[in-house]
Amino acid sequence: MKIGVCVKSTPDTAITRFKYTSGNDGIDAAQVKFTVNPYDEFAVEEAARMKEAHGGEVVAVTVGDAGAGKVLRETLAVGVDRGVHVDAVNTDSLATARLLAAVARSEGFGVLFCGKVAVDDQASAVPAMVAELLGWPHVSVVTAFSTDGATFTASRAVGGGVEEVVTGALPVVITAERGLNEPRYQKLKDIMAAKKKVVGVVTPESLGVSAADLAPVVTFSAYADPPERPKGRVIPGDAAEAARELVRLLRDEAKVL
């Protein structure tokens, strides 16, 4: 079975300091180090484990510019067999979903794993749209997954510590939550072996997706920083006195008590 996994190139949040583009309508990509979206790492790992258990081929797919294609290569050292880079601009979630659905259809994936959210726009929109476009079931924020090759069982944590178990028939779109698995490290040998693996570049036209299909339904007008947090206040005095003052302020000024 072919196992698909969607990968998005997102800013490395550990080291990135953001700057906006001059028109405040985007992030200045030149200032940013990109890496695999952290939740997509769980998706990649699950795909790799499914292949190790059942055989098949793991194909990672991304939509974006040449930089996004480069990030796709990172997955080739952790269990992905082949990459498909859709060379297109990410205009909005629906356009991206149309392209990913077209790849899933032409590859004939049995399962499509995605991260539950991309840490850049935090939209969590694409996987559900892909499933809808394909007419496949979709299970989100999954913490355990198994399949016998024809049907699947997926667990998801719902509110109050309750676990919901979903079963159904393949093909399916699954989005990975933290805890689904522990992603492996890149072994040095696998990094070198990854050099021999192929990332195919495809265009929207070759997938049969027209410019009209990709016309954005959402436009981004502006980005802005959240308002600066007011400075904290230190209440002097001994503990009992300060506590009394703190309660007074919470009640009279902040009005939260």
């Binding site: 050292a77 490290y185 890149q186 072994k187 040095l188 040998k189 990094i191 070198m192 050099k195």
Partner: protein, 380 residues
């Protein structure tokens, strides 16, 4: 060769990710309690760190020394102790590849390269340090066997190693009476003796190793009788490159930590890096680390090219390890009172750096090697 290749950067990143997650969290505790976690060598072996230059057919990665020094530097940035463990497990592999026969290689190389066996190198003795050729451990031939008797000192992985490369006397005095042997860690009569309580590299066990009539088959001798000193010297030549790489990693860690600190710590209303006295100190530290790294890379490159690298390795070891000592000392100074406390890692870097000026031939021995070459070249 001046800068790492794209592939070397990828290897470095992978090593960094692993070390930060698996070694970093306990590095302080392991130092405090002199705790060596052997299972980490197995994990690093599975990642491919332990056999970087060993051929793929023998279970290694089949890469060059330029790649090897990148990996060692990255491990050392997190823990000098575990970088030394990888280098010391690498040493028997280099010796086996240069001097071993195929039976010996088949027995030991894959296990060492994959971190399933821990290596050790037993040369020094109580009265034989820099004067290595005066060693007194004996290997006496009895039929098809040798019987080893004597005590080795300052042996990294003593008592926990799975394979020791042992230098022992099979003939008369001097270097030509020495032979090299492969001795399994579980050989009857071999035991780890007193464990040294060390200033630095405290997560790396260093012990006396006692050989009480240890019987090994003649097939475990490396090369012909009397060539052991050549084996030891060749190992030290390679070891000089790796200790330079480990020192560079420690120096880099100290530079990074103190540079970040100097940009955050404010006194008199400004970050202390903006005081020229501190800023220039950091500039000198950066120059020293980079100088050492470049010389290590050159020695590694010469070795990869099959060119003579002995002199370059001695120069690199001298410069890189002196740099690490100077840079880590300055890092403590940049952090001031904080640097002197165990709450910050720079005092550990300083303690770890010191031994780099002593191992694989003291830096005085490096100067001796270098000055002999100068004399030979410029003699009237």
């Amino acid at each position: 060769m001046f800068d790492p290749t794209a592939e070397q950067l990828e290897l470095a990143q992978a090593v960094r990710d692993f070390c930060h997650a698996e070694i970093g969290p306990t590095v302080k505790e392991d130092d405090e309690h002199e705790r060596f976690r052997k299972e980490l060598i197995g994990a690093m072996g599975a990642m491919g760190f332990c056999g970087v230059p060993t051929e793929e057919s023998w279970g290694g990665l089949g890469l060059g020394y330029l790649d090897y020094v990148v990996v060692l530097e990255e491990i050392a940035r997190v823990s000098a102790s575990y970088a030394v463990s990888v280098a010391v497990t690498g040493l028997p592999q280099i010796i086996l590849r240069m001097f071993g026969d195929d039976a010996q290689r088949a027995q030991w190389l894959p296990a060492l390269a994959q971190g399933q066996a821990l290596g050790a190198f037993a040369l020094s003795e109580a009265s034989s340090g820099s004067d290595a050729a005066s060693l007194t451990t004996t290997a006496t031939r009895h039929g098809d066997d040798y019987v080893l008797r004597g005590t080795k000192l300052w042996c990294t992985h003593g008592g926990v190693a799975d394979l020791y490369v042992v230098m022992a006397r099979t003939g008369g005095p001097g270097p030509k009476g020495v032979s090299a042997f492969l001795v399994p860690g579980d050989a009857p009569g071999l035991r780890g003796g007193k464990k040294e309580e060390k200033m630095g590299l405290r997560a790396s066990p260093t012990t006396e190793v006692v050989f009480e009539d240890v019987v090994v088959p003649a097939s475990s001798r490396l090369g012909p009788e009397g060539t052991g000193f050549r084996v030891a010297m060749a190992a030290l030549d390679s070891g000089r490159i790796t200790s330079g790489a480990v020192a560079t990693g420690v120096g880099q860690a100290a530079l990074e930590f103190s540079a970040r600190y100097a940009t955050e710590r404010e006194q008199f209303g400004q970050p202390i890096i903006d005081f020229q006295g501190v800023g220039f100190m950091l500039a000198d530290m950066a120059a020293r680390v980079d100088g050492g790294r470049l010389m290590v890379r050159r020695a590694a490159w010469l070795r990869d090219q099959g060119l003579d690298y002995g002199q370059a390795a001695a120069l690199a070891k001298l410069v890189a390890t002196d740099a690490a000592m100077a840079v880590t000392t300055d890092a403590v100074q940049v952090l001031g009172g904080n640097g002197y406390t165990r709450e910050y890692p720079v005092e550990r870097y300083m303690r770890d750096a010191k031994v780099m000026q002593i191992v694989e031939g003291t830096n005085q021995i490096q100067r001796l090697v270098i000055s002999r070459q100068i004399k030979a070249r410029y003699r009237a």
